[in-house]
Structure formats: structure tokens, C-alpha cells
């Protein structure tokens, strides 16, 4: 069970990306976050595992307040949160197996990581997961040999191998063609059910959200503007989420810019 309480994020530039966002995500449901570009969807997802540091508010995962953890504890908490990225973010020069097993880095020490010595059950799980995502036999291929859809499957496998308590997906379909997008959405919702974990997906294709999600959250200008089941997302609600004035407010930075802004500072912290 993940609960987000009064989450606010203000970037150093003064951009208020999130304003008092509160959400609860639990069970094995798939929650889709929709909203215009720059509404704060990405920031919201990234604040959950603190790739972006929240300004105020709390993130509680199964009773642990993630926002108050020190670096070591945060690493442990991150192991419980699998993340899937828009551009897959695989390590291009590593093999598929290494990419998948990197999901378990939080469980091994540095020397074991260097020697690629992962626990036998992790390796077994990695094989199984690769089979689940339809990439059995791809273990020794290098990530840069794969197509976009295949890469995203590896990205998902990496997250699943973590045996997380929640799966976070930041625009997992934005770099894929429509057909592959559906396959990926299907895979994510199947995994949620099979692993009995909730999935939080950030997505800008509303039709995909309606089709695959159990619940939809609309974010507009950093605030929750809609919350309900897919069939409640009538035209009026959609207009509210994508209301025209948010378009005129494009002075706010886009998601990618926000993410990049953060990367620099975040990397220095590792």
C-alpha cells in the first residue's frame, strides 16, 4: 500500500510542479496518471522513489515513510519499488541478463556485483521473468542489439526481478509504436495481477489509460483534477484535466526538462 500525503514539489527555478497531491494506491490495481505535458506527472512518479527530492509531504510505502529515510535506508526502500522508464534506460553495453539482474543490486555487495555473483534464486527469477516478458533465450544479447519493444520488456523484467511492492512506470509507452504500446500495457497489468502488486503508470495516451487501468488519476497544473474509474472519465472530466488554460501556462517546464534538471543534482548525491 502506497500513500502519498500532501506531496509538494517546487523546483529551484521556482516552478511549482506539484501542489498538495494526495493519493492512495494499493491492492493489485493499475492506476493510470493522465494529464497534459508539464502537469507534474513525471515529477509525481519520480518523487515516490526520490529520484526527484520532494519539497514537502510524505510518501508512505507499507508503513515506511520514504521521505524521512537516510541514504542507506532509501536504497533498501528503492529495492521495493520497481521503475520502468520512458526511454527504457537500459545499460546499453551490458547483456540482457546483466540488465535484468541489476534489479537485484540492492541485495548483493559491491564485490559480488562486480563478479556478477547474484543469489541463485535471483538468477532463476530472472530467467523466469525473461520468459514471462517473451524474451527467453535473449540473456546473452547486448541491450543495444534490441528493438524498442524488446528493450522495454527488459526494462520491465528488471523492475519485476526486484520483487517490488509497487511498480512505477514513467511514460512506458511514449517511445513505442501503438501496437507495441498495447503489448507493454497488457504486460504491466498482467504482472500487477500475477505478482499481486499495484502498478502506477504515467501515461499521456488517454485511450490506453481507459482501456487498461482500473483507476484513473488526472493531474492538472500540479494538482489532482480527477480521480475515478475509467468509465467515469466522461468528456467533461477530460476537459477539466486537459483544460485549455494549462496549455497557455506552458511557461512551466516540460517533464523531460524537469527530469534533466534533476539528474545533475541527483547524480552528485549518489
Amino acid at each position: 500500500m502506497l500513500s502519498i500525503e500532501n506531496l509538494t514539489k517546487v523546483y529551484p527555478t521556482g516552478d511549482r510542479a506539484l501542489e498538495n497531491v494526495s493519493l492512495e494506491i494499493g491492492g493489485r490495481e493499475t492506476t493510470a496518471i493522465i494529464g497534459p505535458s508539464g502537469a507534474g506527472k513525471s515529477t509525481l512518479i519520480r518523487c515516490i522513489n526520490r529520484l526527484t527530492e520532494p519539497t514537502s509531504g510524505r510518501i508512505v510505502l507499507d508503513g515506511t515513510d520514504v521521505t524521512s529515510l537516510n541514504k542507506k535506508e532509501l536504497r533498501k526502500a528503492r529495492l521495493d519499488m520497481g521503475m520502468v522508464f520512458q526511454e527504457y534506460n537500459l545499460v546499453e553495453r551490458l547483456t540482457v541478463m546483466e540488465n535484468v539482474l541489476s534489479g537485484r543490486l540492492g541485495e548483493v555487495n559491491t564485490w559480488q556485483a562486480f563478479r556478477r555473483q547474484f543469489p541463485p534464486d535471483a538468477v532463476e527469477h530472472a530467467y523466469d521473468t525473461l520468459e514471462t516478458v517473451g524474451l527467453a533465450g535473449f540473456e546473452d544479447k547486448r541491450a543495444d542489439e534490441l528493438s524498442g519493444g524488446q528493450r522495454q520488456r527488459v526494462g520491465i523484467a528488471r523492475a519485476v526481478v526486484q520483487e517490488p511492492k509497487i511498480l512505477l512506470a514513467d511514460e512506458p509507452t511514449s517511445s513505442l509504436d501503438p501496437e507495441t504500446s498495447r503489448a507493454v500495457m497488457e504486460l504491466l497489468t498482467d504482472i500487477a495481477e500475477a505478482e499481486n502488486i499495484p502498478v502506477l503508470i504515467n501515461i499521456h495516451e488517454v485511450d490506453l489509460a481507459v482501456e487498461y487501468a482500473d483507476r484513473i488519476v488526472g493531474i492538472t497544473d500540479g494538482e489532482v483534477s480527477f480521480e475515478g474509474e475509467p468509465d467515469e472519465l466522461v468528456e467533461e472530466a477530460e476537459d477539466r484535466i486537459y483544460r485549455s488554460d494549462s496549455v497557455s501556462k506552458t511557461g512551466r517546464k516540460g517533464n523531460d526538462d524537469e527530469a534533466l534538471d534533476n539528474l545533475g543534482t541527483e547524480l552528485r548525491e549518489i
Binding site: 528503492r78 519499488m81 534506460n89 540492492g106
Partner: protein, 271 residues
């Protein structure tokens, strides 16, 4: 003429100058010419001096040809060459081992500020001096012989390698690193899985390139007593055995060309 009779105020365009305006531009050119003239005046190489130099050169040429590859000379060249090659290999291995952590810590995007500044400092320091300057100091510090040469070349390797590796790391794709961080990996693991794979080909290529540079340098540091074929070369000068000098120079040339060829082939294979 088909042009209109009314005179229009035509706009003109001049190529923008990097100087403020053309007066400054000509002033700068004038200063450059003046500086060149002053330098020539300062040296005052007279025609007589040129002639004297020419005759010395022809003297050296006649005395050095044919190169002396006698039995004793061959032995001296062989032992000097082996020492140079060994120095280059040891210095490259040592230098690279030290450079990798230095390079990582000198990369602005992954290193905390104090470490970054410290390691940038080490790199700049290593790059500031020519290898002969370092060799002279080390010969005084640790004595004549290949040890001074090895330390010199290792030190220069850190300056070269550390700088290029840190620049390579500063240009990595940080999305890959971020994904590893999101799995709960610690800093060292992020380096091993997120950063290192992205720079490995460069590390291998640069190591071989540096070995090639070290091979060249190892033939010269002997001139100041830091071991290798350079020392043999120096002795041949001192004894006016110019034919032996030429023999050494030819062997150095062959070795350097060979090293460059090997390095080029391997690096092309890696890319």
C-alpha cells in the same frame, strides 16, 4: 542600364569582425608583426652562424654514416631497448590503474565537489610539466635508472588518462545511471553497472594509445638519466660516436613506428 534612376539608401553589410572594430583589428595585426620582428632581432641568427651550423650538420652526417651496428653496439641497443619497452609497459599498467579512480573522481557529474576539485588538481599538476622536467626531478629524488623513468611515465599517464576518462564520464548517458540508482544500488554499484560499461571501450582504447605514447617517451627520458635507450643515446653523444648515435636513432624510429602500428590496429579492432 536597367537600374532605377532614384537613389535609394542602400544598406551595406560588412563581415563582423572578432575585434571591436577595424582599427583594433589592424592594431592587433601590427602588434603581431612587431612581435615577430622583435623575436628575430632577439635571436640575431647571422648568415655566418647559419653557415657554421650547416658545416656542423654535414660533419655530423658524414661521421654518422654508415650507422654502427657492431656486435657490442647491438648488445647495448638491445639492453637499452628492452629496458625502454619494459618501462613503457609497467608505467602504462601502473598509470592506468591509478588513473581510473582519479578519472572517476575528476568527473564533475558523478563526483562530490571537494573530490572533484582535488582530482582535477592532480590531473592538472601531472599535465603541467613536460616528462623531461619530471624525470630530472625524479632522477635527483630516486637516483639514476629506470625506476625514475617508470615513475615519470606513470605520472604523465595519470594526467593524460585521468583527464580523458573524466571527460568521457562527463558525457555519459545519465538515464542509464539513473535506472541503476532506482533499483537501490549503492554508489559503487552504480559506478560498476551504470558508468563503467559506458566508458570501458574508451578505457581499453586509451590504454593502448597511452602505451604507444609511453613507448615513445621511454626512449627519451634516459637522456636525463631515467633509464632506457635514451641513456645509451646520451653516452654515444658524449663519446662522439655519431655512427652509433645514428644506429640508435634508427632503432628508436623502427620501434616507435611499430608501436604506433600495433596500437592503431588494436584500437581499430575495438571501435
Amino acid at each position: 542600364m536597367a537600374e532605377g534612376t532614384t537613389t535609394i539608401d542602400r544598406r551595406t553589410w560588412d563581415r563582423p569582425t572578432v575585434f571591436y572594430n577595424r582599427y583594433v583589428k589592424y592594431l592587433v595585426y601590427l602588434a603581431l608583426v612587431g612581435f615577430l620582428a622583435w623575436s628575430v632581432w632577439e635571436m640575431r641568427v647571422s648568415p655566418d652562424r647559419l653557415l657554421a651550423g650547416g658545416s656542423a650538420a654535414s660533419n655530423f652526417l658524414t661521421e654518422s654514416v654508415p650507422p654502427d651496428f657492431g656486435a657490442q653496439q647491438r648488445e647495448l641497443i638491445w639492453s637499452g631497448m628492452v629496458e625502454s619497452i619494459a618501462m613503457a609497459i609497467i608505467a602504462t599498467v601502473l598509470g592506468v590503474i591509478v588513473s581510473i579512480p582519479v578519472g572517476f573522481m575528476a568527473a564533475e557529474n558523478i563526483s562530490p565537489k571537494p573530490l572533484y576539485v582535488l582530482n582535477r588538481g592532480i590531473i592538472s599538476f601531472a599535465r603541467a610539466f613536460h616528462e623531461l622536467v619530471i624525470a630530472i626531478v625524479l632522477v635527483i629524488a630516486v637516483g639514476v635508472g629506470p625506476l625514475a623513468g617508470i615513475i615519470t611515465l606513470s605520472f604523465k599517464t595519470v594526467g593524460f588518462f585521468g583527464k580523458l576518462i573524466s571527460e568521457e564520464i562527463e558525457e555519459i548517458d545519465e538515464k542509464q545511471t539513473e535506472a541503476i540508482r532506482a533499483t537501490g544500488a549503492n554508489t559503487a554499484q552504480v559506478m560498476l553497472y551504470g558508468v563503467l560499461p559506458q566508458v570501458t571501450p574508451r578505457i581499453v582504447g586509451l590504454s593502448i594509445y597511452r602505451w604507444d605514447i609511453n613507448l615513445r617517451s621511454s626512449t627519451i627520458v634516459g637522456i636525463v638519466g631515467a633509464g632506457g635507450i635514451g641513456l645509451t643515446l646520451l653516452h654515444s653523444f658524449e663519446r662522439y660516436e655519431y655512427d652509433f648515435t645514428l644506429a640508435i636513432i634508427l632503432v628508436i624510429l623502427a620501434l616507435v613506428l611499430l608501436g604506433e602500428a600495433i596500437s592503431a590496429v588494436i584500437r581499430r579492432r575495438i571501435q
